[in-house]
């Protein structure tokens, strides 16, 4: 089985394979090419889906609900279906079918539809130079979302509340589905990299499904089965500035991590890192920028660090550490 029914309940863009179905027949009935259907599901050219398999049907967005841009640092653009590209602003709605791209040094977080006011929701964060298409989303008991990442990296945060929700991230090379978020997907050249950070996920590629436990990653090359799970490198333990310490001198340091080729330090204006302000990658377990620019009209500044290994897998971030602005900073 390629995807289980329990894990994918998209109303308008899935197809349950019945006995006797062929890819060409399914594609024809949906007005698609076989290639489009195959690529959308990470199927090998010769693969034949088994009965009961749920196929993702590209280009069938549910336009009923969209996402909301809840945080934006820098600039991003939105390309609605059939419309002209427009700058994206924080607070703007993103309808299903819209492609969102972040620019250099820009970070964006989309909040996926909520079933009720104040209810559970998922959030997808895009790092700089990432393009994502919000294909479909639904709310209710089977709340789920489907996005396509053609470039860059997205992180799906764990859903708030007790409602389990399914978020599926497609790339040209594979499909990752997580029930409760907490994973990261990166569209690489000819491959997709999945890192299960806080919850298990399913990875689909080349007609093969692979389960990933939290703390493991897998790389799926186009047309191939997902690679063997690899343990993600551990984070470095933040050392300075300490918890709540004043950011007088921007000197960040953390303990070296095993298997780390380098480190990624992130600064955000929210403890959950939904509003990322800055991302920097360094080769040593410290960072002393010559210049640092941060907005001061924010609830606070938090930083965390994660490490990446020689194969490019980025690990679970450390716990977020808050820092305070020096006296006198602000209006």
């Amino acid at each position: 089985m390629i995807l289980s029914l329990a894990h994918l309940a998209l109303a308008a863009d899935h197809h349950v394979v019945r006995p006797g179905d062929t890819l060409s027949a399914i594609a024809s009935s949906r007005g698609l090419s076989v290639e489009a259907l195959r690529v959308a599901n990470g199927l090998a050219p010769t693969a034949t889906p088994e009965a009961g398999t749920v196929l993702l049907v590209p280009g069938a967005p549910d336009h009923g609900r969209g996402a909301v841009c809840v945080a934006l640092t820098g600039t991003a653009r939105a390309l609605p279906p059939g419309g002209a590209e427009v700058p994206l602003a924080a607070g703007a709605s993103v309808t299903a079918g819209t492609t969102v791209c972040t620019d250099a040094d820009s970070f964006l977080t989309l909040r996926l539809p909520t079933a009720r006011a104040g209810g559970a929701h998922d959030e997808i964060s895009l790092v700089a130079r990432t393009c994502l298409t919000l294909d479909a989303s639904s709310v209710g008991a089977d709340r789920s979302s489907l996005v396509t990442v053609t470039r860059g990296e997205v992180s799906v945060r764990a859903a708030e509340g007790d409602d389990a929700a399914t978020v599926t991230v497609r790339t040209p090379s594979g499909v990752t589905t997580g029930e409760r978020g907490g994973f990261r997907v990166t569209a690489e050249e000819g491959a997709a990299r999945t890192e299960a950070l806080h919850a298990p996920v399913e990875v689909l590629g080349g007609g093969v499904r692979r389960d990933l436990d939290a703390g493991y990653g897998s790389r799926t090359r186009t047309g191939e089965a997902p690679g063997e799970p690899v343990a993600l490198p551990p984070p470095g333990d933040p050392e300075r500035p300490g918890h709540g310490e004043t950011l007088l001198r921007p000197d960040f340091a953390w303990a070296p991590a095993a298997r780390a080729l380098g480190y990624r330090i992130e600064l955000a204006a929210s403890a959950d890192f939904s509003r990322v302000l800055l991302v920097e990658e360094v080769s040593t377990p410290s960072w002393q920028p010559e210049a640092l620019l941060l907005p001061f009209r924010v609830p606070g500044i938090w930083w965390r660090v994660s490490s990446f290994d020689r194969t490019g897998f980025l690990g679970v971030p450390s716990a977020a550490r808050p820092v305070a602005f020096p006296p006198g900073v602000g209006p």
Partner: protein, 399 residues
């Protein structure tokens, strides 16, 4: 009514008709004497008659464009009539006075003096004149009466109430009144002047803390948008450093970190201390804090000849330069000597070297209490990897 005065320099060439009259063509430049300085150039044509050897009368037409800084070249046309005394025969001096009435500006009074001469190769008369032109800054003409419009409605009041004074927000704004006044005037005085300008004349309005604004002279109230709020610069230096952000000196900071509010845009920070001086540059947006890190004060080595505690002239200048860039830092001076020789002798030599540097620092203006001589290090193998020909002194900035 205030008077705006300008100085005018005019060159004129006149082709004289037979008899005591002529017609000339002049070009000149005009520069304001007060506040807003600008230049004008234009053409002037006129004819003069000489009813007597001692007098003359002339009439001219003067065209000149508005100041070149304006968006549109507002062409003014004026007529002038004047008289003066001319000597005879040429060359002779010319003095005159004229009243000008440009069509799009107020009346002007011109007083000038000149000199007539003959340009080689020409038959006419050439003049070089310097004049003072005074114009009232206020409106030149009374407001035109309101047009009579046929109407079937209720009769209009016989006299329309004067338009309410235009308001500027903030009230302390300055308004640029274009040609012919070319003045920045307080907003409270701008209304009367703007009424004499064509309604589509563009005027600039400035006020501290607000965005510069361009408005039509005939428009309604002008409300400036507040300028973007400021950002903050956090200068990360070393203890004892002095900081200058823009034009402001920041108070000393024992921690070596200073915070300053700055306007949005580029910012330059000068750091002076620890024997170094450097300029840091960056750009800060409104609502942002920018940390700028200065370099660390470098240790400075002073080398001596073998067995000597004598400073060279070059080293004295280096030490003096370091003292000039010390900020509020003091210095620790540590002397050393090679391992050769007796321990006591090396210790004395190292101490003498340190004191020579300390004395040079004090001589360069560093207060004595800010120079500390630390116990010498004799026989330090790290002090001289090349052998025993040199020793070194290290200077370190201290809080």
């Amino acid at each position: 009514m205030p008077i705006a005065t300008s100085v005018q320099l005019v060159g004129e060439y006149a082709e004289e008709a037979p008899g005591p009259s002529g017609i000339g063509l002049a070009a000149g430049a005009e520069a304001r004497l007060w506040r807003a300085l600008h230049a004008e150039a234009g053409l002037q044509a006129g004819a003069s008659g000489e009813p007597s050897p001692v007098g003359a009368a002339w009439a001219g037409l003067r065209l000149y464009p508005a100041p070149p800084s304006r968006e549109r070249a507002l062409l003014s046309v004026g007529a002038a009539l004047g008289g003066g005394w001319r000597g005879d025969p040429v060359p002779h001096a010319w003095t005159g006075a004229a009243v000008e009435a440009p069509l799009r500006a107020g009346p002007a009074i011109r007083v000038e003096a000149g000199y007539r001469f003959d340009l080689p190769g020409t038959d006419g008369a050439s003049f070089l004149r310097v004049g003072l032109v005074s114009r009232p800054r206020g409106p030149a003409a009374t407001p035109e009466p309101a047009p009579v419009v046929a109407s079937t409605g209720p009769p209009a009041p016989e006299e329309a109430p004067p338009p309410p004074p235009r308001r500027f927000e903030p009230e302390g704004a300055l308004v640029w009144i274009p040609h012919p006044w070319c003045e920045w005037v307080p907003a409270s005085q701008a209304h009367a002047l703007l009424g004499s300008l064509p309604g589509d004349t563009r005027v600039e309005v400035l006020a501290p803390g607000y965005l510069p604004t361009v408005a039509d002279s005939g428009g309604g109230d002008v409300r400036l948008a507040p300028a973007p709020r400021q950002g903050t610069v956090v200068v990360v230096g070393s203890p004892g450093d002095r900081f200058r952000v823009g034009d402001a000196d920041l108070p000393p900071s024992p921690s070596g970190v200073a915070v300053a509010a700055v306007p949005e845009g580029p910012v330059a920070v000068e750091v002076l201390g620890g024997g170094r001086g450097e300029t840091l540059e960056g750009a800060v947006g409104a609502g942002y804090a920018l940390w700028l890190r200065a370099s660390r004060p470098p240790p400075v080595e002073v080398r001596f000849a073998e067995g000597s505690a004598q400073l060279s002239g070059v080293d004295r200048r280096r030490i003096a330069d370091m003292a000039a860039r010390r900020g509020d830092a003091g210095f620790d001076v540590v002397g050393s000597a090679s391992a050769d020789g007796t321990p006591d002798g090396n210790t004395r030599l190292a101490d003498a070297r340190a004191r020579a540097v300390a004395d040079a620092l004090v001589a360069a203006g560093v207060p004595d209490e800010h120079v500390r001589v630390l116990p010498p290090v004799a026989g330090d193998p790290a002090s001289d990897p090349t052998g025993d020909r040199f020793a070194r002194i290290q200077l370190r900035s201290t809080p």
